[in-house]
Each structure stands twice: as C-alpha cells, then as structure tokens.
Symmetry: C2
Subunit: 332 residues, 2 copies
C-alpha cells in the first residue's frame, strides 16, 4: 500500500511557496504490537507552523529539512494492536502530514463523532477553541460591560474569542480584512461592530468611534499597524492577550513601530503572550465547555475546507493571503 508524505523541501524565505514543500511516495507502515495504524481524515493548517519552518529556536523546535511537517490532525484507527484503541475509533493530536502513520497513541485523544462534526476537533472544539478560551479568560479576564477588540477577528481563533467575549457580557468589536469578513462578524458571529482595516484610512479613529468607552481587552492575533491603532485606544488597567503576530511572520526586514512602553506605563496595561499548551492542565475542562457552547449554538464556527491530501501546502500558503474564513482545514 503506497503512502503519500509531505516534507519540508526548503526553508521559506518570506512568504512560503509550493516549492518549499515536496510530496514523497513511500510504503505505508504496519502497526507493531502496542501500536495503531491511522488514516488521516482532517488536517489543520495554522499560521504558527510558519515559525517552525525557520531554522530558529522557538517554543517548539524547528521542522527538519526533508522530514514530514506535523500539525493537528483527526485520524481514524484502521488497525489496532493496542488495548487502548479499537478499529473505527477517531483520534486527534499532533500527527505528521502522511496519509497513513502508526502511533503508540500516547499523545492522542479519542473524539466523539456524534457530539460535534469531526473537523470541529481541529477548530472550535479543539486547540483553536482552547486558544481563544484561555487567552480571553486567563489574560483578558473579561468583566461584564468591558469593551473587547479582536484583531484577525474572522480567523479561526478570533471569531471564537469574540463569541466567548459576548457570552461573558462584553461589547465586542472585530477587525478583519474584507467586507465579507466584516459582514460575517456582525451577522453570523454576533459581534457588535466590525472594521475593515484594508479600507479604513484612520484605524485609531475608527476604533475610537466603535469603542466610545475605550478598549478594556485587546485579543491580538496580528501585531503590526492594526495593533498600534488599538493601543491608542487602550483604557487604564486594560489587558492585551498576544495570541499571534501574523503581520510579522513573513517579514525579512525589521518589524518596527511606535514603542509601546509609554502607553503600557501610563495606562498600566497588562500585555501577555501565551500558547495554548501553557494551560494543558485545564484542557479537558475547556474542551467540554467548548463542545457544550457549540452544541447550544452559543459558539458558531466557520471552516474553509479544502479537499485532497496534495492540497495541504497550498491551503497553508493561502492562510497568509487571508483566503480562509475561520479555520482552514484539509479533508483527506
């Protein structure tokens, strides 16, 4: 049985291109005693993977040249030589970009295809949802009546962060890069206001107009000039959850802007970066809460599902063009 595998062909310079990836064909593996054989069903492509393609230490080690990329995957157990799993089970975890692979199952979690659709475990009911959940609740610490601004708001994490903000009683303003996204934020995800940063000349003024009481919480997915404009509107004792900084991921030149210290100092801002695994102790509780909110339609999620194992690199590249609405997923 043949098996397709996508490896890192060369490290991207600036924006990734299809040439940075290569598809190899090899023999599919067999499960040994204690192992399971998995067939990949859904693959998550995420902006943070770009960082791992650089040869630079970060919170996770860089991908190796010529070796498979890994990301969040939902897979089906097609053969089990492990007592912990049965054929037909579905699991999720960090797995490699392979059609088939074996695993000892240690870092995999079984998921229930009846509770929510399988792809949701890569998004709203999985790492993406938890990222929004922990960033907003642990760093943003929303209080009823607070004003929350979310950048990258139509993205997978941003749209959920905003909806959890609404559940917590905040006034929620989203920033996104197209009129379609702005419409989705207001009409699908229930944001109070949304701003298209690509067509707005004076973002600081637009944010001030949308936030008459100033900004208490900023859930930041983008960094860059959008964040500079939000900072102009921060209230005293405001909180900034730094979830991502996609505007700078592909820059080779120095990413410069107004220094933040004077605002952080005079407004006593708390600004904190985080990754979802900082809160792994509470992941199970968060997953349960997210599944409940999804079932009760208190959280809606958008997915852009691309079909075909060979489409994984292009789907990843398209993230940086903003071609996705919500979570970008490849169905295999």
């Amino acid at each position: 049985m043949t098996n397709q595998v996508i490896v890192l062909n060369k490290r991207p310079s600036g924006k990734p291109t299809t040439n940075d990836f290569k598809t190899l064909t090899e023999q599919a593996p067999d499960a040994r005693q204690g192992e399971i054989l998995l067939r990949t069903k859904f693959v998550s492509v995420d902006p943070y993977l770009r960082g791992r393609m650089n040869d630079k230490k970060s919170y996770v080690p860089p991908f190796e040249l010529g070796k498979p990329i890994s990301s969040g995957i939902v897979a089906e157990v097609v053969e089990s030589k492990s007592e912990a799993f049965a054929k037909g089970d579905f699991v999720t975890g960090s797995l490699e970009w392979k059609e088939f692979q074996t695993s000892d199952g240690k870092d995999l979690v079984k998921v229930d295809p009846q509770a929510v659709p399988l792809s949701a475990y890569l998004g709203a009911a999985g790492m993406t949802g938890r990222t929004a959940y922990f960033g907003l609740l642990k760093i943003g610490r929303p209080v009823k009546g607070d004003t929350l601004v979310v950048s990258g708001a139509a993205g997978a994490v941003g749209s959920i962060a905003g909806q959890i903000g609404k559940i917590m009683g905040c006034r929620v303003i989203g920033i996104a890069g197209s009129d379609e996204k702005v419409n989705a934020l207001k009409n699908k995800f229930g944001f109070d206001e949304a701003i298209n940063y690509k067509t707005t000349k004076d973002m600081a003024a637009a944010i001030a107009a949308a936030c008459p009481d100033g900004v208490d919480i900023y859930f930041d997915n983008v960094g860059g000039e959008v964040s500079d404009a939000v900072f102009q509107n921060l209230n005293i004792n405001s909180r900034v959850a730094v979830c991502g900084s996609i505007s700078g991921y592909n820059t080779e030149e120095e990413n410069k802007g107004p220094r933040l210290q004077p605002i952080i100092n005079t407004k006593r801002v708390l600004m904190q970066g985080f990754i979802v695994s900082d809160f792994d102790d509470e992941a199970e509780e968060a997953n349960k809460q997210l599944v409940t909110w999804i079932k009760h339609q208190e959280i809606k999620y958008a997915e852009t599902i691309v079909e075909g194992f060979d489409k994984i690199p292009q789907a990843f590249i398209d993230l940086f063009e903003g071609r996705n609405e919500g979570k970008m997923i490849v169905k295999v």
Copy 2:
C-alpha cells in the same frame, strides 16, 4: 512673612529649561481652624513630573500654567490648629513647591525622624522605595535563582529594585549611563554585574554575556533602545515591569523601535505597567518593610541633595542629564 512659590511658567517643549518655571513671592498663609502650617524641608524632584507638564491627560491631571508644581515633600509642622498634629511633627505627602503652606493634613503621613533620615521618606523609605518594591514583587515575581535586569539601575527606583532582587535571591544585572554609576552598582549596591550602555556598542550581546541563563525579570525604567536589547534576551515566561520610560519623555518626534509582539508572543512574556498608587492598600506594610531593610543596611540608598528652594527647577532639569546618583532631593 514672605513666601516663595514656584509655578509652571510655560509648558516645556522637549527638555525642560529654567524658563519653564517662575518664582513668585507672596504673603505666607495662616493656618485656619483644623489646619496646620507647614515649612518645606525636603523636596523630591522626579522624572514623572515631566509628563504632568504637558497639556495631556495621563494618570494624573496636568499641572496648570501659572499654578504651583507639586511633588513629594517632607515638611515640619510649625503651627498646628489641628488635633491630629503637634508643632514639631514631621509629615510627608504630595505638597506644593512653596516655602510655607497650610494643609488640613488629610493626605499627609507623619514620619519618624529617629527611624531613618527625613530625606529617606522621599526615597528609599517612601514612594520611590515602594515603586521598586511593588513593581518587582507584584509584577516581576522573583524566584530564588532568577536573573533580574534593571535599567536606569543607578536611579532612585532602580538601585532599590536591584537590592530587593538580591534580598530575594536573584542574580542582578544593572544598566546605567556612566562608569561611576556602574561602579556604584557593583561596589555600593551589590549588583552582580553592571553595564554602561553609553560605552557599550552591542548591548544585546553585552546583556547576553552578563546573563548566561537569559533574563527572567526586567525592571524597566527607560524604554527605548536599551529595552530593545534586553528584550532580545528574555526567557520563556519572563516578566517585564514597566516602571518608566524616561528615554522617551522629552521626545517630540515619534518614538519608534522593533515591535515587541513577536517576542512577547513566542516567549510568553508578561509585560505590565504600573504606578505606585495602584498598591496604596499595601503601602503601610511596604513602608515598614523598607524602613527595616534600610535600618539593617540590606538596602542602601544614594541621594543627590541640592540645597536651596530656588534650586528646585534646576535639580529637576538635571534629572534628564543623569546628573543624579540615586534620589534627587532639594533641601530647603
């Protein structure tokens, strides 16, 4: 009895000059029933006063043109028509730049001239000491073995922040602007290492060399390029207490630098601004602890004492030239 009063003559543009201030002579006031008459003994001049000289909302309202400046002052009660104070008492609080003034005593605290020298209540045993204490303990959260970097380290707040860091078991590195200050940090204040940023070409490399285990806590008094260099060396889960940003106080041009979001994000940095009054509930406890540390010589402090009421404006201006070692105080 005549009384000299220093008022804000015009709002400084960039660095303050003596022309921004004016000394008026008026009749000294009389204490009314319930009031005390105070004679100014020691006046604190502080960088943050520069911000209040702009016509711009901040955490405290701006000074008014033609009206007296106020700052931390130690004064002697020369006449009391209040039951709470006796002639000969010494008090401290925010008072006006006047030789004599009356007060209802509400926001004043009595201080003991036997415990520590009176001027210390404007510095190590007062607001300055508490600023270092709360910034380091509440935001920096030092753990034994942590590496602490302090910028503006030879300043009033910085030198105390570093010494509290030593008491907490940290390795402490100071950054200052002259070889004299570097010597004082190492030989007087017990810092483990100190760096002269004015004579060091590659600050990021110098900090890396002084901090082989990276930086866990950064107590930031300066902002600007020095802080950019410290950020290059922050560890995962590090904490940055943003106490001040003196490098930008006098800039009229835009204060730009590398954006911090990518580092805050990947290193999960907590960065927080604060002012000492955020922790007023715990001020009494902090004051007691500081007086004890000073008495036991666990905290040493430097003062630059200038004599003469008319020297207050120049002493303030000299702060921005780094002419002080430790707390800048005017003795009247």
